[in-house]
């Protein structure tokens, strides 16, 4: 193909190679290295003058490194007089961040510093939560030790707080600072010379279960979608290809064309071809947000559908409702089964109750969980457990983007999920090795991406790919 150059970032070289093979072109040569001070260095080796350049970079691994690398590559091509630069982001970085304040037991992905050795499938993921001022001060000394590996800010706080959230009340005493440490911290608070009350690295305020700080200001987390879109446009991207955007609204953040491809045809084909008696199986959405996506698949296959609904609310003080902290199924509605767990921070704080509710019948059925993204895998493993508890015989998990960050692979391995099917929108070879091919299967998206690149390059319609895949 004339004037077409496909370049690859360092996030997923294998995908770039297969895309180029599908397009039957030579991959453009880019050298991406790091200077000794850690700065990313890009050298585009082939001429891109007046060429149509596609840069493949997935939002995985070291997300920030890869994203900055992509921005530099786009800028490099732009300054080297490329005619058009298209960023191909199979997994869009920063597409999914919790929009709720990050209080103790509210929903949201856990931070990198989360304790990883202890977890159960019932408990809610621990979210980073700083301690009160007293605890903050105790933390300063030991924080420097963990500096290079863990992100410095929350390593100490989350170590303690998440530990509490995950382990429950039984181990609270172990995680708390000892009496001596406490008294030391008390002394330090009252030293008059220090004006600065909160150290630089521990300045995330204390929040209660409703996300309010002491001053009554409701803490919030910045949403990065618009920023990421603006940064890509600033770097000079003229067009964007991505896949199964978590929020379709993201397209609206851009002033450039964004082609959001779907992996749905791919997943559908898998169900048709590899799940025996697929008409009998139940398509399940692990949360209400993905219901639309799962229903679309269920409808087109003529399968039945079930939904798992998650609810979190603060426990009403001293008046436990019927759903409190028990796994007694509700008897009023046979199809709505509740299993709840207390993911409380400690007994003094108002606890949050995470309730999962299955809507639909899965007894003696094969279940297919469908979701767009698995990150920490808390949602999907908990959903699988609920399905098995309700009598499902076999649980498939079909996900487009298998990020599996942190400890997720371990969790999946121990979970009730019988088989995970994901795509190679992010590198999966290592996961394949860990989980084994009878528990883990990878579908290839390079053909969809390659075909969309070909069509965009030739100015053909892309919409056919939305329905039929490739």
């Amino acid at each position: 193909m004339r004037d077409l150059v496909v370049l690859g970032g360092s996030s997923h070289p294998q995908l770039t190679r297969t895309i180029c093979r599908n397009l039957t072109i030579e991959q453009g040569v880019v050298t991406s290295t790091k200077f000794s001070n850690g700065e990313t260095s890009i050298e585009v080796q082939d001429s891109v003058r007046e060429k149509d350049v596609f840069i493949v970079q997935s939002g995985c691994g070291d997300v920030n490194d890869n994203f900055i690398e992509l921005l530099i590559m786009i800028a490099a091509c732009k300054t080297a007089s490329a005619r058009r630069v298209t960023a191909v982001l199979p997994l869009f970085p920063y597409s999914r961040q919790p929009d709720v304040p990050h209080a103790a037991s509210l929903t949201g992905a856990p931070s990198l510093a989360t304790k990883k050795d202890h977890y159960t499938f019932d408990s809610a993921p621990g979210t980073p939560r700083p301690l009160s001022r007293n605890d903050t001060l105790t933390g300063i000394a030991s924080e420097n030790d963990s500096y290079p590996n863990a992100p410095p800010t929350l390593s100490l706080n989350t170590g303690a707080s998440n530990g509490l959230g995950l382990l429950g009340k039984a181990t609270i005493n172990n995680m708390r600072p000892t009496a001596i440490e406490r008294s030391q911290s008390a002394n330090r608070i009252f030293t008059p010379r220090s004006i600065v009350t909160n150290s630089a690295s521990t300045n995330i305020p204390t929040v209660d279960a409703y996300g309010k700080t002491e001053s009554g200001y409701k803490q919030w987390i910045a949403q990065n979608g618009t920023l990421i879109a603006n940064l890509l446009m600033t770097a000079g991207a003229d067009r964007l290809i991505t896949m199964d955007l978590h929020d379709p609204q993201f397209q609206g953040f851009f002033n450039i064309p964004v082609d959001n491809l779907y992996s749905r045809p791919l997943l559908k084909h898998y169900i048709l071809d590899y799940i025996p008696n697929y008409q009998e199986c139940v398509i399940v959405s692990p949360d209400s947000g993905g219901a639309k996506r799962a229903i679309a698949v269920a409808d087109s296959l003529g399968c039945s559908f079930a939904l798992i609904h998650k609810e979190r609310r603060a426990k009403v003080a001293k008046a436990p409702p019927s759903t409190n902290a028990t796994s007694t199924p509700m008897t009023t509605n046979p199809n709505a089964i509740l299993s709840s767990s207390v993911a409380g921070f400690n007994s003094a704080n108002p606890s949050m109750i995470a309730t999962t509710m299955l809507v639909g019948d899965v007894k003696d059925k094969v279940c297919v969980l469908i979701d767009d993204l698995v990150d920490t895998s808390y949602t999907i493993t908990r959903a699988a457990k609920l399905l098995k508890d309700q009598g499902a015989t076999y649980v498939y998990a079909l996900v487009t983007h298998g990020v599996f960050s942190g400890d997720a692979i371990n969790r999946v391995n121990k979970s009730a999920i019988d088989k995970v099917i994901t795509t190679n929108s992010v590198p999966q070879i290592e996961r394949m090795r860990l989980l084994g091919s009878d528990k883990f299967e990878v579908l290839d998206v390079s053909r969809i991406l390659a075909e969309s690149i070909r069509r965009i390059h030739n100015g053909e319609s892309v919409s056919m790919l939305f329905d039929h895949g490739w």
Binding site: E39, D62, F67, A75, L112, V207, A222
Partner: protein, 323 residues
Amino acid sequence: MPATQNSIKLVAGKSHPQLCESISKKLGLSLARVGAFQYTNKETAVAVGESVRDEDVYIIQTGCGENNINDFLMELLIIINACRIASARRITVVVPNFPYARQDKKDKSRAPITAKLIANLLQTAGCNHVITMDLHASQIQGFFRVPVDNLYAEPSVLRYIQEHYSKKDLIIVSPDAGGAKRVASIADKLDVNFALIHKERQKANEISRMVLVGDVTNKVCVLIDDMADTCGTLCKAADILMSNGAQKVIAMVTHGIFSSNAVEKLNKSKLDKIICTNSMPLDDKVTECPKLEVIDISPTLAEAIRRLHNGESVSYLFNNIPE
């Protein structure tokens, strides 16, 4: 005059907590409750726990970290954006060491001008003003459409030399031709001679040949540069100066990056001492390298923040150290 009184909000990035703390102490202000953290998928997020509406926000983040310079950069962009959507009146980024400052020109075909990209990214995120220090090339100021205050560590360096060395047998040496101007200005102010080392570079971070211009026999040589990265230049320069009969060699740099095995090289080198500012965190390096001495520049940065907030002139700081 602004319609209502607003105040300074100091926001600390995670790159250099000590500097943030000492700036906040100098200003007598506590740091705002805005902080960044990372999710397990390595995406950065910023929690805002304090109102910054209509306030004058200063975000302190330096470009450092061999493994996470890009993380700090993204963190900075996200904090700027968070403050912007929280309706801050003005957002000033304080970047003592500007990241990617050395990639400031298209030195070969298809090379990216990353410094320009970073400037654009910062502005896209929403920063209204930039405070930095000893930019590698002052032309980087031109990459911005917003005002840039490029502060100098020179006054601090001058004072250190005056306090520690006698003028009599002193000579100031520039380790490369590019720094000649900076060195000449310091030599003028101290009223001493200066020498120059010319180097030929074939690849980044590698030097091939060096030639000394000037007489350094029996002199105390002070090498002055804006940054020390792998320290190859400084160590070789020290070798050349010693072999040309120098009494001893000390080095003064603004930004001590000291990447890869720089500390090891310095320990083995003929340098008597190396002095740099705390524009980057150096705690672990000070313990590893007994030759390393650190000058605190937080007074200059704090004073710049105060002056900027009150609408006073910053140029005083170009020649003086605030008390």
